[in-house]
């Protein structure tokens, strides 16, 4: 990830350096074990030659606190694509990788992911200026965070409201985001299976090591060659562990963008929501105007209870009508204000959101291209190791 220069990052360095297990009682008074992560911040001055870097400020936080921060950001900046957190539970694991949240490897990868999250926020032109974020990094007490609730409408995945005139760009973006989610999920699943199989191939070669060693004991001329070739087979079998660990970093980079699709979708939904509010307000206004017209002309176009009752029980008096008319006028004026407001809100949302979306698109293309390059680097490393091992083995066989 390329860190953009922001005022915050010019001032301070942010790291998540360690992870520790803690035990404590949770909200339902049950004993639980969880992991906390150490957030280190220090002033971003260049250290003079031979000088010691400044002692960092540190504080420990657990994953759920990061979740609260993110929720706060989601609510406060609905038009921004909020960076995702690393996964809550390990998904797309190939069988040797643990799905246990307390497993050291998982914890380590989560630590990296959390650091990445903080750096993403810290390098965002808008988010990096947030005061709460700053406090999250530097102060322990964060009661305010708990108070923020995400709009329940946003949580529902199915479209419960219909928008008549959404901005077409958002519709296209939502579709792209959904398709990207599907494609990346599929890719990660297959990659995990490929990793699994590759692991099997390498590990089976370990058996050669064992058998060659045993065999070499009964041979005269062939013994040495077999024995040393066997050692190389063991090396080959062992080499896959590091290779796949490196590849896991690539998978994490891709996974980040899988989670980003949720954030993008969320922004699109918020647009729909604000558009919906606008349309509702406009509809409401139109209805009131209609009512006024009917009241003024006496022509009932729309069925209303008032209209029915006045038909049945007789027309109301002129006075009553004028009171009602005045009330409607008032309501209409308010309605017009509301529509104006909503319209402005909507337009502002579209403008700011689209700005962030353009920024995001650029970031995405850059990051993913880098990820693909790093994948190629892992493959190259694997090939080089393979060449070396098998060349060595060949030499040993030649001595048979």
């Amino acid at each position: 990830m390329v860190e953009r220069e922001t005022a915050l990052l010019r001032k301070m360095e942010i790291n998540v350096t360690e992870a520790e297990k803690r035990s404590g009682k949770n909200t339902v008074n049950m004993q639980e074990t969880y992991t906390v992560y150490l957030i280190e911040t220090r002033p971003a001055e260049t250290v003079p030659e031979g000088g010691t870097p400044a002692v960092p400020d540190t504080l420990w936080r657990r994953y759920s606190e990061f979740e609260l921060l993110r929720t706060y950001l989601l609510v406060t900046y609905p038009y921004i694509i909020i960076p995702p957190l690393p996964e809550k539970r390990a998904e797309f694991v190939w069988h040797k990788l643990s799905a246990d949240n307390l497993d050291p490897d998982f914890v380590e990868r989560r630590r990296v992911g959390l650091e990445n999250f903080l750096l993403r926020v810290a390098s965002h032109p808008v988010l990096s200026n947030d005061k709460i974020f700053f406090r999250f990094l530097t102060e322990l007490d964060m009661c305010d965070l708990v108070l923020h609730q995400v709009d329940s409408r946003l949580k529902s995945l199915s479209a419960m409201f219909r928008v008549k005139n959404p901005d077409k760009r958002f519709t296209a973006l939502k579709q792209y985001s959904d398709e990207l989610n599907t494609v990346i999920s599929h890719l990660l699943r297959v990659r995990a299976r490929v990793a699994d199989r590759l692991y099997g191939v390498y590990k089976v070669h370990g058996n050669y090591g064992r058998v060659f060693s045993e065999w070499s004991a009964i041979e005269k001329e062939m013994g040495d060659g077999l024995q040393s070739a066997g050692h190389h087979m063991d090396t080959y079998a062992a080499s896959i562990d590091d290779i796949l660990e490196e590849e896991e970093h690539y998978a994490d980079q891709v996974k980040e963008y899988l989670f980003y699709t949720d954030a993008v979708r969320s922004v699109c939904r918020k647009h729909e929501l604000s558009q919906y509010d606008l349309e509702m307000a406009a509809q409401d206004l139109a209805y009131k105007k209609q009512q006024k017209e009917e009241l003024a002309t006496g022509i009932v176009r729309v069925f209303s209870l008032k209209g029915m009752t006045s038909k049945l029980f007789g027309q109301e008096s002129q006075e009553q009508r004028e009171i009602r008319l005045a009330a409607l006028e008032q309501s209409i004026q308010e309605g017009e204000e509301t529509v104006k407001e909503k319209n402005a809100e909507c337009q502002e949302f579209v403008r700011t959101a689209w700005e962030d979306i353009e920024r995001f698109k650029e970031q995405k293309d850059k990051d993913l291209r880098e990820a693909l390059i790093s994948y190629a680097v892992v493959q190259i490393s694997m090939c080089k190791k393979g060449i070396q091992v098998w060349s060595n083995a060949k030499e040993c066989f030649s001595k048979m």
Binding site: V190, R193, Y208, K364, V377, S398
Partner: protein, 420 residues
């Protein structure tokens, strides 16, 4: 949960190869067959010169005077059966042959006949095994192209092994096999059946009696054989497993490349690098396919042949034991006889000679076989290692090209890290 990085649970991948855990390990320092201490019995003298020849020189082709190929498998259909005929081409400068070129057609049964005649004539020589009659494993079709090709190659190797053998290659039956247009009349002539019966009966009788003492060198040979058989079977099993795992890996790899293409379809700027990665993965899967083929066609058949060799050798040891047992039985009878000793003495002396001949033949052939085994396996392993190096080199090139296309320099620091 473990505290280590990746749980070292290899149990799923380590094969259960050993059935006999407490096999005696044969010591490397004992020399088995030096071939130098050969008594002066007449028949062994004749062959002594040839046995001490450097076999590797023979295989170089410097002294090779006979060249045989087996090719052209053709299906023959008769009213009763369908079978494959192979063409056997012989080119030779040997004076025993009337012509210098022969072309005949033989079927699998003919090879079986040849081998059994050779075994009959030289019970204690190590005769290369033939490919199996029928392979159950893998449900291979009897007439599938792969099966026929594998068999053809094995038959080719068989004839060449015979032709390279200092004694066997001068056998009459071998010559007839290579030269006669019609083999059937020659097959009918041999009284093989009856003598084989006799041998089996005698063998059973002798095994019941047991050997009084086996010369130590043959005991050691037997021990080595047991171990060798065991190990070569294991190597064979491991190789089969490697091929299986590779095939499963390839299957997944084939599904992997399309996911990148799918993704590319959604993107703008990113489409090109994604498609490039897809094609890299595809290239690598093609190379994997070739690598699997090489294993199946080069390493596995040789390993299989030496598994069969193990069985052959055990049979040879048994036959040698029987010859010795027969002599010992008659010798005992002679010792307990009171009168008419002269006639039996001649018989016993004859059997004693036979034992000596058998032992010498085996001893001499043993080192020939060991060299042959070493050469064959060495070259198969080298070839496999070479193929693997080639595989990785090709894949390396593919990915480096991708990096170049992204206008990224393959970083030098990374090279130094990887070498360690």
């Amino acid at each position: 949960m473990s505290e280590h990085t990746v749980p070292a649970d290899l149990s799923g991948h380590m094969l259960d190869l050993d059935e006999d855990e407490d096999l005696e390990v044969f010591s490397k320092s004992t020399s088995l067959a030096d071939g130098s201490s050969m008594p002066n019995s007449p028949s062994s003298m004749v062959n002594q010169y040839r046995l001490e020849e450097d076999d590797e020189e023979q295989q170089n082709g410097n002294t090779k005077d006979i060249f045989i190929t087996v090719d052209n498998p053709e299906s023959h259909v008769t009213a009763i059966e369908t079978f494959i005929m192979y063409r056997v081409l012989t080119k030779t400068t040997r004076s025993e042959f009337d012509s210098c070129e022969y072309e005949v057609h033989r079927r699998y049964q003919d090879f079986l006949w040849l081998r059994s005649k050779l075994e009959e004539n030289y019970p204690t020589l190590i005769i290369h095994p033939l490919p199996e009659k029928f392979v159950m494993k893998g449900m291979v079709e009897r007439f599938s192209n792969d099966f026929i090709e594998t068999r053809r190659k094995a038959l080719h190797r068989f004839l060449n092994k015979i032709s390279e053998h200092p004694i066997l290659s001068y056998n009459q039956h071998f010559k007839v096999f290579l030269t006669a247009q019609e083999l059937a009349p020659h097959r009918k002539q041999s009284a093989g059946f009856l003598s084989r019966m006799g041998e089996t009966v005698r063998a059973v009788a002798n095994s019941v009696r047991g050997l009084s003492s086996r010369p130590e060198e043959f005991t050691l040979m037997q021990e080595y054989l047991e171990n060798f058989s065991n190990k070569i079977c294991s190597v064979n099993k491991v190789t089969q497993r490697v091929i299986k795992e590779q095939r499963e890996y390839l299957d997944e790899l084939k599904q992997y490349s399309p996911t990148y293409v799918q993704w590319a379809g959604l993107e703008g700027e990113l489409a090109e690098p994604l498609k490039d990665v897809a094609s890299c993965v595809e290239r690598c899967s093609k190379e994997t396919e070739e690598q699997i083929q090489h294993l199946s066609q080069v390493l596995l058949p040789i390993l299989h042949e030496y598994v069969l060799c193990g069985e052959t050798l055990k049979a040879v040891m048994r036959r040698r034991d029987n010859i010795q047992a027969e002599f010992e039985a008659k010798n005992e009878t002679l010792a307990s006889k009171k009168a008419d000793k002269e006639a039996m003495q001649v018989e016993v002396d004859g059997l004693a000679d036979r034992v000596e001949m058998a032992n010498n033949a085996l001893k001499g052939d043993w080192s020939h076989w060991q060299n042959s085994m070493r050469t064959d396996l060495k070259s198969a392993f080298i070839s496999t290692a070479e193929k693997n190096v080639e595989y990785y080199e090709k894949c390396l090139a593919v990915w480096e090209l991708f990096l170049l296309s992204q206008r990224v320099e393959p970083r030098k620091e990374l090279d130094e890290e990887d070498v360690s």
